[in-house]
């Protein structure tokens, strides 16, 4: 999980100091060195680190920490405040042109993830903002880049404009706008070729596209794993194109992602979105404040709640509650429920958002095998309608048929049935507890796929 390393380090530093009633100047010095190292290890640019540590030190030496009874807490608070400040407020809005189409240009180094992100962004615009986007294949240099965008477009069922590899990117972009107008598409996302910020010729091409299209947004796509050079890249692209925002990709890796801090600090441009996976719906709004919490290991509950709200159908949830109460919960409901949880994203990612989950022994680095979920699904789907409604029907013959149908051993079918029964029992007890009576504490049950 991104930033976990940084959080761990800072927490260790603070731990060394807790237990002490008061903090002296030597402690502060030691702490700022640790904070400095942690940030440097997280790939935050050294200049940014210098300023940051200076601020922390100044505030820490002040009365705030020295006289506090809980110096550790105070320091975390300061670091968090300063981090949040450095990363700026949340800004995931996308511009809307007065006269459609709104034009978005995607720029960045090679391999940052522009093409994938273009697809994700188009998907987001359609899903969340109800827009009709057009993807434009303006990367005529990298072999098969156009094929890649076309495949992405096909997967999403979003139109892709291309003119092959012989056309000039500037012309492609210009014609795409005309095409969008004709087809009444309201967003145009131009996927440009990756290029080095020091490549004058190719940077000139981008300046030309910008001059012709007058885009409403220019998004700089940056790999979250970028090291110290992030600053040079961001500064250079920004100077030449005046980008309007940054999209950070591959944040689902285990990089500490200090580049986010650096880019923000040197360009003062907002990081608007973060790429959180290889699937085309895994682009999220970048929340600086939540990220700062995550940096400090405080979890990311807000994102979790938001995901749940987004993906769980309220009506269905009500129905489910009713069923749980009346204990008429069936395997069909179970499938439904699984679908909903699955649509929230990879389970290990969800776990990572629970505060303290990384501190719990059993949960640290837990990897949930998504395949097992598939197995459970296969078993349930191999049941007949009656069996799903009434698991009581199950006998040895039926179980063998289900095992065959799902390609899983009979023992696994048995295990699932048993777990399902336990689950139902639990539900009954839980709903029985409602109404104020304090029931006995029950042992927890395991979801069949955990």
């Amino acid at each position: 999980m991104a930033f976990e390393g940084l959080a761990d380090r800072l927490q260790q530093t603070i731990k060394k100091m807790t237990g002490k009633g008061k903090v002296n100047e030597q402690d502060v010095k030691e702490m700022s060195r640790e904070v400095r190292l942690a940030l440097l290890e997280a790939d935050v640019n050294f200049k940014v680190v210098k300023d940051f540590v200076k601020k922390i030190r100044e505030r820490a030496v002040g009365t705030e920490v020295m006289e506090s009874l809980t110096p550790g807490q105070q320091v975390i608070k300061i670091v968090k405040e300063e981090l949040t400040l450095l990363m700026g407020g949340e800004q995931s809005k996308i511009a809307v042109a007065n006269r459609p189409p709104t034009v978005i240009m995607m720029v960045g180094l090679q391999g940052a993830g522009k093409t994938t992100t273009s697809g994700k962004l188009a998907n987001l615009l359609r899903k969340k903002h109800n827009r009709k986007p057009l993807l434009v294949a303006a990367d005529v240099y990298r072999p098969a880049a156009i094929d890649q965008l076309k495949t992405v477009g096909k997967q999403l069922n979003i139109p892709v404009f291309d003119k092959g590899t012989e056309a000039n990117p500037v012309d492609i972009a210009n014609e795409a706008i005309e095409y969008a107008k004709q087809e009444h598409l309201d967003y145009v996302i131009v996927d440009t070729a990756g290029r080095l910020h020091i490549d004058e010729q190719l940077m000139g091409e981008l300046t030309q596209i910008k001059a012709d299209l007058n885009p409403d947004e220019i998004f700089l796509v940056v790999d979250a794993m970028t090291g110290q050079d992030a600053v040079n890249v961001a500064e250079s692209f920004d100077q030449q194109l005046n980008v309007t925002g940054v999209i950070l990709t591959k944040l689902d890796g285990d990089t500490r992602g200090g580049a986010a801090l650096s880019i923000r600090a040197v360009t003062d441009k907002p990081i608007k979105f973060a790429g959180m996976g290889e699937k085309l719906d895994e682009l999220e709004a970048f929340h600086p404040e939540r990220m700062a919490s995550r940096i400090l290991g405080m979890g990311d509950v807000l994102t979790l709640i938001e995901k749940a709200q987004e993906n769980i159908d309220e009506k269905k949830a009500k129905e489910l509650e009713e069923k749980m109460r009346s204990a008429s919960f069936t395997f069909d409901d179970f499938l439904d429920q699984m679908e909903q949880v699955k649509s929230m994203g990879p389970l290990d990612e969800l776990l990572g958002m629970i505060p303290g989950a990384n501190k719990m022994k059993g949960l640290k680095n837990v990897q949930i095998d998504e395949k097992q979920i598939v197995h459970v699904e296969a078993i349930v789907k191999s049941m007949t309608r009656q069996e799903r409604q009434d698991p009581g029907l199950m006998n040895a013959g039926r179980k063998r048929r289900i095992a065959k149908g799902s390609g899983r051993p009979v023992s696994e079918v048995n295990r699932l049935l048993k777990q399902f029964e336990e689950m139902k029992k639990m539900m009954k007890q839980m709903s029985g507890m409602q109404g104020g009576k304090k029931g006995k504490r029950k042992k927890g049950f395991n979801l069949p796929f955990m």
Partner: protein, 333 residues
């Protein structure tokens, strides 16, 4: 003889080495000017060697993405050395700094070039691994070209069945160079594609089989398992294969590159590194840390987008490129 003189002598020996080092100099010009300029500036600013000097030195090295641990150790060593030799003037430390850096890289052996591990008696299989977007497919294209120029029969396997357009991308490279690409459709099992590739390489009597794989972040356990399965299939089909497992690293990557090297090594026993995109402003200093902590050598560097822009990694040329300004300076002294 001074350290710089030794380096200089080595590189003015023959026309061939000069050509190579010129390419490095061009490719690394950004790296070099910023790095040695910074070092010069540092030395000029601090006449005396003190605590602040070492802290600034740390930053110069860190700015090149040399791993934090490596830098801390190096600086501690230098501090000790400075005390021992009673060095008080910053300028006297300059050469020592450079020498120490090269030492890490080459482990004292100034000719430590590590060539590709090819099987002279038959088919050689080279597996390419790495995270997303580092340049695996491009590096394969470039290496295929180079090997073909050397007269080898090369075959490519499109093992990235996941990313949209990846198979087509390798296909374009195959056409450009004129080598055959073994492929299946998108979404098929990469291990099965590898199997096909090996069978094809055998029946066509190929010398080298270059295997592309999908980019994957090293913390995705399931994807890493898939990769080790790919490797197992290769091992099972040809004893002793893969002869090289090359981890492709983006020079712009920071500290995470070390984690990448560690994790990919655990899964696939990486035998060498291809350092790509070194023609940018990034320094790729992390390879120092990787060499030091994991002892994985860099075998190739990518210095541009053309077919010919892949160079065998020559630590000397790299270092020469990095310190060329200082070498010239010394001569004028």
């Amino acid at each position: 003889m001074s350290f710089f003189k030794k380096l200089k002598e080595k590189f003015t020996g023959s026309a061939e080495t000069e050509e190579v080092s010129d390419k490095y100099k061009a490719g690394l010009s950004k790296t070099r000017s910023s790095f040695s300029a910074k070092l010069n500036d540092l030395v000029a600013r601090y006449r005396k060697v003190d605590e602040d000097f070492f802290e600034d030195l740390e930053e110069v090295l860190i700015s090149a993405d040399v791993g934090v641990n490596t830098v801390m150790e190096l600086v501690a060593e230098l501090e000790l050395e400075a005390k021992r030799q009673n060095i008080k003037d910053a300028i006297d430390l300059k050469e020592l700094i450079s020498e120490k850096l090269v030492e890490i890289y080459t482990d004292g052996d100034y000719t430590a070039e590590v060539p590709l591990n090819l099987n002279s008696a038959g088919l050689s299989v080279i597996l390419f691994v790495g995270v997303n977007g580092v340049g695996k497919t491009t590096s394969i294209g470039k290496l295929a070209y180079q090997l073909k120029q050397e007269g080898k029969k090369v075959l490519l396997v499109a093992g990235d069945t996941f990313r949209a357009g990846a198979i087509e991308q390798l296909g374009v490279w195959g056409e450009r160079i004129g080598v055959e690409v073994i492929k299946q459709s998108e979404g098929s099992d990469p291990a099965a594609v590898m199997y096909d590739g090996i069978q094809a390489a055998r029946s066509r009597g190929a010398d080298v089989l270059l295997c592309d794989t999908a980019g994957r972040l090293q913390n995705k356990v399931n994807l890493m398992n898939e990769l080790s399965k790919v490797k197992r299939v290769i091992e099972r089909e040809i004893p002793g294969a893969p002869h090289d497992v090359l981890l492709v690293l983006d020079a712009t990557t920071g500290q995470n590159a070390l984690v990448q090297a560690k994790t990919f090594s655990e899964t696939t026993d990486v035998t060498g590194i291809v350092l790509t995109k070194l023609d940018g402003t990034a320094k790729g200093g992390i390879v120092l840390a990787i060499r030091k902590e994991l002892n994985i050598p860099v075998k190739y560097v990518g210095l541009g987008e053309q077919m010919t822009d892949l160079e065998k990694f020559d630590p000397n040329a790299f270092v020469y490129g990095l310190f060329a300004d200082m070498v010239t300076e010394q001569q004028m002294d």
